[in-house]
Each structure stands twice: as structure tokens, then as C-alpha cells.
Symmetry: C2
Subunit: 306 residues, 2 copies
């Protein structure tokens, strides 16, 4: 099953060097989750041939413009495209105020419903779940209400062991095996032990999005052991003081957090416009955490099943 | 002196085929006037190497999203770039409400002042002038408060006729000649007649922006004889009924207006996303008004001095 992240925008604050403001698209088996929505996100979605109609859930980390100025345009375009499906938006409590003012003054009547859920950025909790996925919040330290998001697959079914499976089981019994049950005779005595006919479930994969934020040990606890971590690295380490003042992180801080949290892989992004070349940022992070990648717009980052 | 229009966005409603939403940059001798500001305008300005810091005046025609969703992002970027110069914005009366809500919720404090002037879209009047230019409003028929803008150079100085100019005149006397005055002796008797030493001033050039709007004879009167007219042509003529219902114009309507108003040249734009290929729109307009051009993003349209 596909668990794939596409970077739509990787720059901070302002667009520069062809890089756009923050947005990411998480694709879990053709269910699209949009994370942040900087200006021009809808153009990036078109450019990378993502079907915008598939977006059901949008998560906004905070109300700095480079993370949400593209949201109203995307909503407007969904409406003009004839959308009727509900849209779910999660973000800071003042976001509906902004959307409402713009829709009212532009005399726009939506043909679909928006369900808004305000995010409490002071604590980590389960924000959303469906039959495959749970999304938790990650409180971030950015000087303004700001929350990251942790996407975790739910526990999966046990896998049938084709080598030991007898051929006389009913569909219901197969489903019982997948859910971990043993198989019984009508008189209640055990016919097969589950462990003899099944293999352990595949690992539940996870992705954590942490932007924008200072380095924080609290974050580390929440993202511990995730398969893939996106952590902002606005600056290189020689700008550590500036990073702290502006509530941002450095390459070294992002990589240290990844290393201490024992994550599978790290993507750094949200680059300051002072950096045209990004290889120095990558190399600096890799000195701490070798399995670091740069966020590159248009690139897919797959989390494989294991 | 340069009088140059650059198209930044030429599509209607939603972005499509690499075309952006409406925005134009009028450059009068390095004074920049931005007309409308669809999403992504700041990226287009970067792409076409226009110095955003030179923008002093922004004119917004109406509050449909494809004409103003890029404004807040541009303001934000100007601020992050360290702007301190005042910025003048002209547009519908509710525009400050939108800007204010977004600045407040994103905790943004501008380092420059915005002077906002509400446009009365019910009448044509002088909206702004400096020492070289006057800007008049053009009421448009779009089912929502909507105004076009007419940019007219002020009357220019008479030109010195180098072939007849004597070499014994002072700087003050040369300036008098340029402003149309005769030259006198100290006793008050005429020394030179202005007409003998000067040539008529160069023609004052003009550009009219009309988008979005139905075809309107009232518009025609206001733009009569302009050097260059931009008139929306969202649809081809076979969609005339749809154009009318949606308060838009067709190619034939735009060209007819240009022809009846006796303008020098016509640019059509604000193309519906139903049109991937634009040559049919151009050809249809040219059957009525041959000197029609397509609005092409990144292209400069010069109005030469004569």
C-alpha cells in the first residue's frame, strides 16, 4: 500500500530561486492529505499532476502567510471545478475568520461544505482518524500558535501464512485469523491456533511534520521512532542565534533531533532565502544524521512496507 | 520615455496550461503600477525580473479571487524584504477589511504604511495623478463592484526646434519656450514668438484596462481613442450567452468595442480555462479589429512616443 509524501514547496517566508512556500501532499493509497498551503500551492498541484479533487483533509500548522496564503485560492478553485464533496480543514482557531471574510467580500457561495476543526497547539492529541490512519498533533515552539502533525497507520491485520493454511476454511474464518482470533469447532474446542496459520502484521508506518519550530526536546518524544521526519532547518548552524531569535531551527538541530529520536529518515526544508545552494545544508545535517535528505519540490518520498 | 505594459497573468478564474490569474505591470519610466494581483503574482514578478520594491501603486479592479488573492502575499514579501516606502492601494471598499484580518491573525506588523483609496465603481473620475500621469476609473458591468483603470500621460512640454533656436537664450528662457511662452525683451516687447522656436509636444499616450466586464457602450465612451486597450475576452463568440450570464465578454465584443472606440491597439485576455489553444480567439477578434494581440505572460507591450 502506498505511503508517499510529495513536497510542493520547500522555501521559507518568501519564494526564491524557483522554490515555493511550504506545502506537502501525503498520499496514503490515493487518500490525499494536504499539509500547509503556501501561495501557489494550487499551481504546484497542477504542475505535479495531483488530482486536487482527491484532497479531503487539509492541515494548517500556523497562520504565518507562507503556510496558508494559498488556501483561499485552492478553495475557490475547488468550488469552480464543481466540487460537492465535504472538505475537512484542521488549523488555528482564527483560520475560519480569514476564509469567511474573503468568501463574503468576493461574493462567493461554496457548493461544498467545509468542516473546520480548531487545533489546540498546547498539547499532543489524536486529531483525526479513519479506518487506516491516525493523525496526532505535535505542539511546536514558534512564538505563535503552531502545531505539527504525526500521521500513523493503524495496526494492520495479521497476514495469512499460505504455507500452513488448510484449504477447508470459510471466508469468515479467514477474517477471524487476520484479526488475530483462533479457530474453534462448533463445540467450542480449539481447531487451529492463530499463530500457526498467520504471520505478524506488517509494521504500521509513520510520518511526522514539524514546521515551523525551534529545536524542542518535547517534539523529540512525540516523533520518537517515526519512519520519516520532516523537520524545518531554516538556517545553517552558524546562524543558530538568529534561528533561536526567530523561532526556527538549524540543520544541526534538526539532525540532532532526528538522531536522538531514532527516526528512520529525515527530510530538511523551509530553507531561508539566503541559501541559493542547498548542498551545504544537507552536508551539515548529514554529519549528525547520515540518512538526511533535502526537501525537493516535486520529489516523492516513499515509505516502504516492511 | 518608456511606457510599457507587462502581462503577468492572462487566465481567468483558475490557473490552467501554465497560465496565471490576472495581473499586469505598467511601467512608466521606471514607475511601476501594478494592476490586479491574482495568486502567484509575486512569483511572476520574480520570474520576469521586475523589481517589486519599485511598485508604489496597486490598483485592484474587483474582489473576485483571481484578481486579488496574491495581494496579501505580495504585501507580506515587501515587508520581509525590508520595505519602508509607503504603498498606495486603490480598490473596492472591503479590501482593507481582508488585508487587516490576515495581518492581524498572522501577527504581522508592517514596517511601511499602506494608503488605501476606495474606488467608487459607479462613475468615471480622476483617481490619482502625479507630475506625468493621470489615472481615471472606468465603471465596469460585472455584477459586483468592479472598476477598470485608464492611464493617461499628462500634456507634455513643447519641443525645442534645434534648427531655429538662437544660441543666446538663457536656461530660464528655454524653459519658458518649453512651457509654451513667448520670449520678451526687458521693455516688454516680443523678442521671439514661441511657435517659431518650438515644435508641438509629443502626444500623450494612454492605456485602458477593462477587466472583468460585459460589453458596454459606456466603457466605449471612456476609452475612446486610447493608444492601447486591454479588454477581457473570456469566451469566443459561440459562448456569447454564457458570457452575458457570467458578466463577461467575447472576443467579438472586445474587438467591436475596440473598433468603435477607435483605439490604437487591442490586447485580449482573461481566457477561460476551456481554451488550451488561443489562436482561434485571436483570429476571431482580428476579423473585427485587425490590430488585436493576445495577452501573453511575460511579454512586453510598448506604447511608442510619436
Amino acid at each position: 500500500m502506498e505511503f508517499r509524501l510529495k513536497i510542493l514547496g520547500a522555501n521559507s517566508a518568501t519564494p526564491a530561486y524557483g522554490r515555493h512556500q511550504t506545502s506537502q501532499l501525503l498520499n496514503l493509497e490515493n487518500s490525499y492529505f494536504l499539509i500547509d498551503c503556501g501561495e501557489g500551492t494550487q499551481m504546484q498541484l497542477i504542475k505535479y499532476r495531483a488530482k486536487v479533487s482527491r484532497i479531503q483533509h487539509i492541515f494548517i500548522s500556523h497562520l504565518h502567510g507562507d503556510h496558508f496564503f494559498g488556501l483561499i485560492g485552492l478553495i475557490n478553485t475547488l468550488n469552480l471545478n464543481g466540487r460537492t464533496d465535504d472538505l475537512h480543514i484542521y488549523g488555528p482557531q482564527n483560520l475560519p475568520d480569514i476564509i469567511t471574510v474573503m468568501l463574503r467580500h468576493s461574493n462567493t457561495h461554496l457548493n461544498f461544505r467545509i468542516h473546520f476543526t480548531a487545533v489546540d497547539s498546547e498539547r499532543s492529541y489524536l486529531l483525526y482518524q479513519n479506518n487506516r490512519l491516525k493523525v496526532f498533533t505535535i505542539p511546536l515552539d514558534h512564538g505563535i500558535a503552531c502545531s505539527g502533525f504525526l500521521f500513523v497507520e493503524k495496526e494492520k491485520e495479521r497476514r495469512i501464512n499460505k504455507e500452513t493454511l488448510p484449504d477447508n476454511l470459510s471466508v469468515e474464518e479467514i477474517l477471524d485469523l487476520k484479526s488475530g482470533k483462533d479457530i474453534y469447532y462448533a463445540d467450542g474446542s480449539q481447531r487451529y491456533a492463530n499463530a500457526d496459520l498467520t504471520l505478524p502484521p506488517r509494521k504500521s508506518r509513520s510520518y511526522a511534520y514539524c514546521s515551523d519550530t525551534r529545536y524542542s526536546e518535547k517534539t523529540m518524544e512525540i516523533v520518537e521512532g517515526v519512519d520519516l521526519l520532516y523537520h524545518e532547518a531554516t538556517f545553517m548552524q552558524d546562524q543558530a542565534e538568529k534561528a533561536w531569535q526567530r523561532y526556527h531551527s538549524t540543520t544541526v538541530e534538526a539532525a540532532s533531533l532526528a538522531q536522538k529520536a531514532g527516526v528512520g529518515g529525515l527530510i530538511i526544508g523551509h530553507y531561508s532565502s539566503r541559501y541559493r545552494e542547498l548542498q551545504p545544508l544537507l552536508h551539515e545535517a548529514q554529519t549528525i544524521f547520515p540518512n538526511t535528505q533535502l526537501a525537493e519540490e516535486g520529489k516523492d518520498y516513499h515509505i516502504a512496507e516492511s
